[in-house]
């Protein structure tokens, strides 16, 4: 069927892109990698009159790290650059791993990490780890920048805190603490390629053999990626024995409200939540030791 007709705009700077967005408002759609957007368009789910392509904005394609502010990933950085970046692999291995198991090689060469967040699929593979790490997201408009916790960014399936005149500039991930570990795990029907039936991101710190801080986020089991509060509480201040880990896995199901769809039944998803949470916590701990 091909794509519906549209006008293509190619801004050279983020500011120029925002001016276009301000001018055309709801008639325009911002495009980064386009691997989700173009499919929605060819299915006529959306038919924007204008596409604002961010591809030519060189200033948005970067991965930077410093010991004070942490990691910054720009809006045009594709998943392939995230998964093979030496600093991300060393300091944020779960971020690199999550990028490496998102979609396929070809899509990872086109799709951006931030695009994955902006599409706000409940199953977005790059969301749980970044949420667990306490990432912030920088929203840019002609009025200036607004920095919000990533946890406040997701509002529902396909819905975010982005205002109509804003474009995401970057995501900022704090420096991992001493004695900390992180992990991402995903289960889907067809290995890595398929959309996750459940995914889990964990970030935790150990203090004298006991779990100190712990953040666990679950994907694809609620309208947005959700915090597994009950599991976190079960783990805090405890030695990570098998018993504690099994119990935390069970508690994680209290925070999940999955649906049944073609990817998995509600019941199976709950089992996956339990098992993946347990394994991800174990993996994060093993990473420290």
């Amino acid at each position: 069927m091909g794509l519906p007709k549209f006008k293509y705009l190619a801004p050279k700077t983020l500011k120029e892109a925002c001016e276009m967005l301000e001018k055309y408002g709801e008639k325009a759609k911002v495009k980064a990698g386009g691997t989700d957007l173009l499919i929605k368009m060819s299915n006529r789910v959306i038919t924007p009159e204008y596409i604002i392509g961010l591809k030519n904005i060189k200033e948005l394609d970067y991965i930077e790290f410093d010991e004070k502010d942490g990691l910054r990933i720009g809006a045009c950085t594709v998943l392939f650059d995230v998964l093979r970046n030496p600093i991300i692999k060393e300091k944020y291995p779960a971020v690199a791993y999550a990028a490496s198991v998102t979609a396929t090689n070809q899509v990872r060469n086109m799709a951006t990490l931030i695009g994955n967040l902006c599409n706000a699929a409940p199953s977005a593979d790059n969301a749980p780890t970044l949420l667990a790490l306490g990432a912030k997201i920088v929203l840019y408009s002609l009025n200036g920048e607004r920095v919000i916790p990533l946890e406040e960014f997701f509002k529902g399936p396909g819905l975010t805190a982005l205002k109509p005149n804003e474009i995401v500039k970057e995501v900022i991930v704090p420096v991992p603490k001493e004695n900390s570990g992180m992990a991402f795990l995903k289960a889907s029907q067809r290995g890595k390629v398929d959309i996750a039936a459940v995914n889990v991101g964990v970030y935790l710190t150990l203090n004298n053999g006991k779990i100190d801080d712990v953040n666990i986020f679950l994907g694809a089991v609620a309208p947005i990626p959700v915090r597994a509060k009950h599991a976190e509480e079960e783990l805090k201040g405890k030695e990570p024995t098998d018993e504690v880990l099994y119990s935390a896995g069970k508690k994680a199901t209290l925070d999940a409200s999955p649906i049944t769809d073609m990817r998995a039944t509600r019941e199976y998803r709950l089992v996956l939540v339990e098992v993946l949470t347990r394994r991800a916590v174990k993996k994060a701990i093993d990473f420290i030791q």
Binding site: K5, T35, I51, A103, N105, Q106
Partner: protein
């Protein structure tokens, strides 16, 4: 609506053509440039039959807007062989190992193999499988394709 002028290289040849902004690279390659070696399968980035290499990276040409390849270098399956007589080692290996059945997925498979071997000249079997995660074969299976890529990696040792 107006066409936009784009300039790009395909298999070393320079092109300057006017395209509608909603045309994909796949449509332009197949219909405007008559390079029909690149296939169109699902049109949603799942099957990989449309895989081409842009500036050294494989992409789904069905999900790439032609206007966005302005200034880029593209390699398609037609650009791999040295000459009419001499195929690329990956193509030779696919023939040797019988890695082609109906052939529809083959151009995409070979482009993905090239992307792998350009970045990792000595891949393990697991790495080859991972490199093909965006390419589907519906005829038979992947074993001969994986064998062929392994063979190609040996053929290409010391070469490009």
């Amino acid at each position: 609506m107006k066409k936009q002028l784009i300039k790009f290289k395909v298999n070393g040849d320079e092109y300057e053509i006017a395209v509608y902004p909603w045309k994909t690279l796949n449509e332009v390659l197949r219909k405007d440039l008559n390079l029909t070696g690149t296939k169109l399968g699902c049109g949603t980035g799942d099957c990989g039959a449309c895989t081409v290499i842009i500036d050294g990276r494989t992409v789904n040409s069905c999900l790439t807007l032609a206007v966005e390849v302005d200034g880029k270098e593209i390699t398609t399956i037609e650009g791999l062989a040295e000459s009419e007589e001499k195929l690329h080692p990956i193509q030779e290996a696919f023939i040797e190992k019988g890695a082609v059945q109906c052939g529809f997925c083959t151009p995409g498979m070979i482009m993905s193999a090239k992307f792998l071997l350009d970045n990792n000249p000595n891949p393990t079997k697991e790495e080859i499988k991972k490199a093909l995660d965006g390419n589907l074969c519906r005829c038979t299976g992947y074993i001969k394709i994986i064998d062929a890529i392994k063979t190609a990696s040996e053929k290409m040792k010391g070469g490009k």
